[in-house]
Amino acid sequence: MTKAPHKPRLSFTGMLRRSLVHRRARSLSALVALTVSAAIATALLTLYADLNTKLHKEFRNFGANIVITASASTPLPPNALAEIQRTAGPDALIAPFAYAVASTDRGTSVVVAGTDFASVARLDSWWQLAHWPTAPNAALLGNRAANFVADEHNVKLTYSGKAITLIGAGRLTTGGDEDSRIYIPLATFTQWTGINPTVVEVQVPGGAVTVEAALTRLRTQFPSLQIQPVRQLVEGESRIVERTHALMYGSVLLIALTVAVSVLATLSASVLERRRDFALMKALGGSQTQLMSMFLLEALVIALAGVALGYIAGSAVAWGISQINFHTATLPRLSVLPLVLLLNIAIAALAALFPVRVLRTLQPAALLKGE
């Protein structure tokens, strides 16, 4: 190495480069180990950071979590829907309902509800029906209610002497109260009965805290209306999200720890194997600090490369898992990078420093002789 005349001294970076290049197989295996640890950490942390959003999105399908009820003495104010939407936030789904008891052509009393089908389709995705009606005079017949109607295609209803004929748009099955009702478009309903909406169902995305905040805002805005949370939905969602969160947290810690310890053990073993290098350098006059920083720097370079590769691989794994499981993508998050970096550097530094401490007590001469 001293053959190059213009470079008489062995530079630190030169040694580092040569050490990495010469022992290529060893450097490569260390790189792979640190890449895997970085990839696993990245994937799990990315998934973990995205978990709440993903789960809350699943829970949106449960429907309304706030119900606003007006009574005859306190009707909904004009343009209430727009006001509620504004107060509840742009993400909230709202659907108005108006109810009246009419009689069918068979003389049975039946609850007829007027609503906005487009809103309900988004709010109550579990309603089972062939297709959502669009015609202004369509009538959606609850599965039970349909049995009390003589002609399902021409539904004749009477409300306080006023008759109306609607076109049946198929049956609706939910397993709940909806099965005993007939749903028609709100405009037609109001024109026919003169009744305005009395119930507004609101779905505020997010956990209990967001729902509580929306409730408070709505109650201040509309003090005369009755505004209630759907307790089991709000509580259930919070509990399950919280528990899944804790479960993920435990799993992430467990896996990260396992991988970290295994990688640490493997790396420190391979450093320990280099006791001959160590002895040689010491015999040539290297100080303890120099040797330590040499080993450390080498490890850090590999660790950084591992983080770069692992971040890409881990983000891809997180994307894949969320695509398979939640059918939506999880984008790479830069915010997990510092933690991954810290973990990898800690592993690498420990793996380099631990053997050096063990080797310090050894005599270079004895080592070189192979004792």
Binding site: L44, L55, N61, V111, W127, T258, V259, A265, T266, I321
Partner: protein, 429 residues
């Protein structure tokens, strides 16, 4: 000779053995814990989802149409059809009876209530007869088990006409508290004791609750039940579940029948109870299935990631452990040992380590999973000792550890055996 070599190798090279052993131990611990959590997560989340209430509702088929808005009966039906309470034990005879977690029958009727605050005036109220902590076979079930979010102050009424629980809003209107007496049902000349005040968070807060038996007596409908709510453990619905069983071929129908879909359980209930119409509550059933699928899917995928990471860590540790012992291999070969016997020795060491590490890792991981599960899902009832150790996982984990360890050490053993013994010995001098 072989066993002495094996024994000495473990006795003398403790540090190296410890390294590989720790890697295997940690790997199997993580994998066992993740798999144990993933296999039980379905049941655990299902218990959490019980908050949402019944997923199957049984009503009398011939019942009149409900005229209900916001939970309030507008036109109480007269001469309605009812289910029979004496038919309910038949639910225990259906194929998926063990999957039924809670049953809550109900009989609603109209009543009147008055209190000193109202003077002699009576206000109309809706009243409901329920089971409260009712012993149904082995189970203790009823309306409070089915609605865990209800908050009860005091206790539920017992059978006997003089005890009632009332909703929170009704209590405010009547200005009464737990332990007070109030007049329930104008026709009575006696007062009833309020044993509890219930906050349900919905329209039932205006109602009166009595036991099913009292309700049957008060409404003069012996043995009658107007609806039954059932919470059952089900399998998330798939395309096959939506098929009409009566249109399937006999074999297909049997498969459909023997899967715990909400639809199959409802079908079996309709078969078991004459005149009953059982339907899945789609809001609960459909969405629960989805949430369950997502969360357990996530756990399985993360377990797969854990498996991969642990497998990698173990095989890397094994490779390093063998690589370090090239000198030994060189020495053995120069002393005349055949490649086969050296490989056998090394594989035996690896196998022994994997089995030991795997077994301990299994125990450690099972314990860890039980501890984590108990901490996270606290208050769901402790799991019994037998369910902490899942015996199916033991062979799975040990075989996995064995496969990964052998796969990890094979390349190192092969390269070491292919090298010239003298080169190895000189290089390591």
């Amino acid at each position: 000779m072989f066993f002495r070599l094996l024994w000495e190798s473990f006795r003398r090279q403790r540090r190296r053995k410890a390294l590989a052993g720790v890697a295997i131990l940690l790997g199997t611990t993580a994998v066992t814990a993740m798999l144990a959590l993933a296999t039980t997560i379905g049941d655990r989340i299902h218990k959490e989802l019980a908050v949402y209430g019944a997923n199957i509702v049984i009503t009398p088929k011939a019942a009149n149409l409900d005229v209900k808005v916001g939970g309030v009966d507008i036109k109480p039906a007269t001469g309605n059809a009812y289910l029979k309470a004496s038919d309910l034990p038949k639910l225990k005879g259906i194929f998926w009876a063990n999957n039924i977690i809670n049953i809550s029958p109900e009989l609603s009727f109209k009543g009147e209530a008055s209190s000193p605050a109202l003077g002699t005036q009576f206000i109309p109220v809706n009243a409901h007869g329920f089971w409260f902590n009712h012993k149904f076979g082995e189970q203790v079930t009823g309306v409070s088990q089915l609605n865990p979010t209800w908050q009860l102050q005091g206790r539920w009424p017992t059978s006997g006409h003089l005890e009632v629980a009332i909703g929170q809003k009704l209590a405010q209107r009547l200005n009464v508290k737990v332990g007070d007496y109030f007049r329930f049902m104008q026709a009575w000349d006696r007062v009833s004791l309020i044993t509890g005040i219930v906050s349900t968070g919905n329209e039932l807060d205006n109602d009166v609750f009595v036991t099913l038996k009292s309700a049957q007596g008060l409404a003069n409908l012996p043995d009658a039940v107007s609806r039954v709510e059932v919470s059952a453990r089900t399998r998330p619905e798939d395309a096959f579940a939506r098929k009409d069983p009566d249109a399937l071929s006999p074999q297909q129908r049997d498969i459909w029948y023997c899967r715990p879909y909400a639809n199959s359980i409802a079908y079996q209930i309709r078969e078991a109870i004459p005149g009953a119409d059982a339907q899945q509550v789609r809001q609960v059933e459909q969405n629960e299935g989805n949430v369950l699928k997502r969360i357990s899917g996530l756990m399985w995928l993360i377990s797969a990631a854990a498996l991969f990471a642990a497998g990698f860590a173990v095989s890397a540790a094994m490779a390093t452990a063998i690589l370090e012992r090239r000198a030994e291999i060189g020495l053995m070969r120069s002393l005349g040992a055949s490649k086969g016997s050296i490989a056998l020795l090394f594989y035996s060491e690896t196998g022994l380590l994997a089995v030991l590490g795997g077994a301990f890792g299994y125990l450690l991981g099972s314990g860890l999973a039980a501890w984590l599960g108990a901490r996270i899902f606290a208050g769901d009832g402790a799991i019994s000792g037998s369910s902490i150790l899942n015996p199916v996982l033991l062979p799975v984990v040990v075989v996995l550890a064995l496969a990964v360890a052998i796969a990890g050490s094979t390349p190192s053993i092969r390269t070491a055996l292919q090298m010239d013994p003298s080169t190895i010995l000189r290089a390591d001098a």
